[in-house]
């Protein structure tokens, strides 16, 4: 039983890690395209767009790599939760007000996917492995604080 649960945690961690690393690469190489996408969301003030476009992909890359190698997992999962909730909120808000906008989730190319309800569902679905890692890590971290930063195994 413990082994099976450990495998679930492992899978959650690797999946999330891969998704975040993959999501960060195109944005890191094309920050001005990413800024254009963020600007088109019409949520952030125009003066913040450039800074966020430069920083956000590196945060994604950092937590993605840390999740993949299994270091600082709980903190990474916490940031992942905040990011995914933020993205979902931004997408949901723009869908609600009838915007036709580009996601910028995995690609900043102009012809990349337009956002639909499925984008929102995907973002929310990614919260499931995040939640698993947070709960698993919290239980483990509280019983053995020294191990809190290691990936949960049981």
């Amino acid at each position: 039983m413990a082994g099976r649960l450990g495998f679930v945690f492992f899978l959650a961690r690797i999946t999330l890690g891969f998704v975040f690393v993959y999501a960060s690469v195109d944005k890191i190489f094309n920050p001005s395209d990413f800024a254009r996408v963020i600007y088109a969301y019409k949520i952030l003030p125009a003066g913040w767009v450039g800074l966020v476009a430069l920083e956000l992909p590196w945060v994604e890359l950092a937590i993605g790599l840390l999740l993949l190698v299994g270091r600082l997992v709980w903190s990474s999962a916490l940031i992942a939760a905040a990011l995914l909730l933020g993205f979902s909120g931004a997408i949901g808000y723009n869908l609600a007000r009838g915007f036709n906008f580009q996601c910028g989730c995995f690609s900043t190319a102009r012809d990349a996917q337009a956002v639909g309800l499925m984008t929102l569902v995907r973002d929310l679905a990614l919260l499931v492995p995040v939640f698993l890692l947070l709960v698993g890590g919290l239980r483990r971290g509280l019983s053995r604080p020294a191990d809190a930063d290691r990936p949960p195994r049981s």
């Binding site: 890191i28 945060v59 890359l61 509280l142």
Partner: protein, 177 residues
């Protein structure tokens, strides 16, 4: 299960530690992003007003034969009776606020309404189209449809309603109904 009973202090200490680590991670990663920007050949000012960047970029993307109109020019043009102004956004947005004198020509209905509109319009009529702002492509598309139908002086106001409003210019709302 040999777990000790968890008390609030343990939970708080755990959470505080993890949140602090998370904040440090965000700061370090953000710093890396800003630092990398400095060594990029296409670096940009992190604090630049992105609306201005987009408006400038819009001029470089203008379809062939379509002119670009800057804010200062727009301020002059919208008062002139010989300029035909078109709002390409959906009708609901037009009702919420448009530039005085603008007619509603939603892009989705353009193919349907353009023939009748252009029938009465001289080919040399100056037409200015706009949409939400620099990030929306609708004004480009309508401008292209109009030039394809023979209009010779079609222009796009790239700042759109967003720039117009943010500069404190008057807008007209459609009330009642």
């Amino acid at each position: 299960m040999a777990e000790e009973p968890l008390n609030k202090i343990t939970i708080r200490a755990f959470l505080v530690r993890q949140v602090l680590i998370a904040l440090l991670m965000i700061i370090a990663a953000s710093a890396a992003g800003v630092a990398m920007n400095q060594v990029r050949p296409d670096r940009f000012d992190p604090f630049v007003d992105w609306r201005a960047v987009e408006v400038e970029a819009g001029y470089r993307r203008l379809p062939e034969g379509v002119l670009g109109v800057k804010f200062e020019e727009m301020v002059q043009l919208y008062r002139r009776s010989d300029v035909w102004l078109a709002d390409t956004r959906p009708a609901d947005f037009y009702s919420l606020g448009h530039i005085p004198g603008a007619k509603s020509v939603p892009l989705s209905e353009a193919e349907k309404v353009l023939p009748a509109l252009l029938e009465k319009m001289p080919r040399a009529q100056l037409v200015v189209v706009y949409c939400e702002g620099s990030a929306c492509p609708d004004s480009f598309r309508l401008a292209r449809l109009m030039t394809a139908r023979g209009l010779r002086r079609v222009a796009v106001y790239l700042g759109g309603i967003e720039e117009w409003e943010s500069r404190g210019m008057p807008i007209v709302r459609v009330t009642g109904g």
